[in-house]
Point group: C2
Chain length 138, copies 2
């Protein structure tokens, strides 16, 4: 388990960035929460081409931060699957707003139009839909 | 002017993280947009204790990314002041949702309660209020 850094200040935005302030953490959480990937090799296969050592490191950090749990694969007991916690699922509104901003300014965005429209029209309903089926252990 | 990296994929979340995926960029944008700081020395004075070289680097990156403009200080022509662009102001919903998440999980949060309540009650009105007074040049 990695130790989290001491908070830099009393600002909750700064605090949050100690968890998600890098280029990879939210990409892994996107895979886990929105794309519902579960296995290490599935995260490795994402288009961004995350390196094995960075993925290993981020998953450890996410576990230490209480955002991800490791559980035995119900289908194959020797394998491990990853699952988001309630604390991670609570990042959905932030993730969707970041995604919406990116979609507005990125001409090459391949995000499903239905997803982007859903954020604009009724984000809370979209969050509820994306949450469903995740157990979100604490 | 620094060059921005090539997009890692067609995902707008991943794209956005190439701009804001680090521990400092959103802290500087918070100072600029929410706390309405303008001068280099004001950013330096924030509680997080950003180092001079990191601040210089982040401001250059923000300028290259079209998120910040440098203009002459109207009060003192030899000085430079920084201002957020429309693209930066569009990050407000994401910033406020990150802040809300941080506030929920950070026992030491010193965010003004009125701000946190405002996000929950009527985020769009809060965003409009925070935008007002910023010219948001493109």
């Amino acid at each position: 388990m990695k130790k989290l850094p001491q908070p830099r200040s009393g600002c909750p935005l700064s605090y949050a960035l100690d968890f998600i302030g890098d280029k990879w953490t939210l990409v892994v959480l996107r895979d886990l929460i929105i794309l519902r990937k579960r296995h290490f090799h599935e995260f490795l296969g994402s288009d961004e081409g995350i390196a094995t050592n960075i993925l290993t490191d981020r998953l450890k950090q996410l576990e230490s931060a209480g955002l991800v749990t490791r559980v035995r694969d119900p289908a194959q007991a020797r394998r491990v699957v990853y699952a988001p916690t309630a604390k991670a699922l609570d990042l959905l509104p932030a993730m969707l707003e970041i995604l919406r901003w990116g979609d507005k300014y990125f001409a090459g965005s391949k995000a499903p139009r239905a997803l982007v429209r859903g954020i604009a029209r009724d984000r809370d309903a979209l969050v509820a839909g994306l949450r469903s089926g995740h157990r979100g252990k604490r």
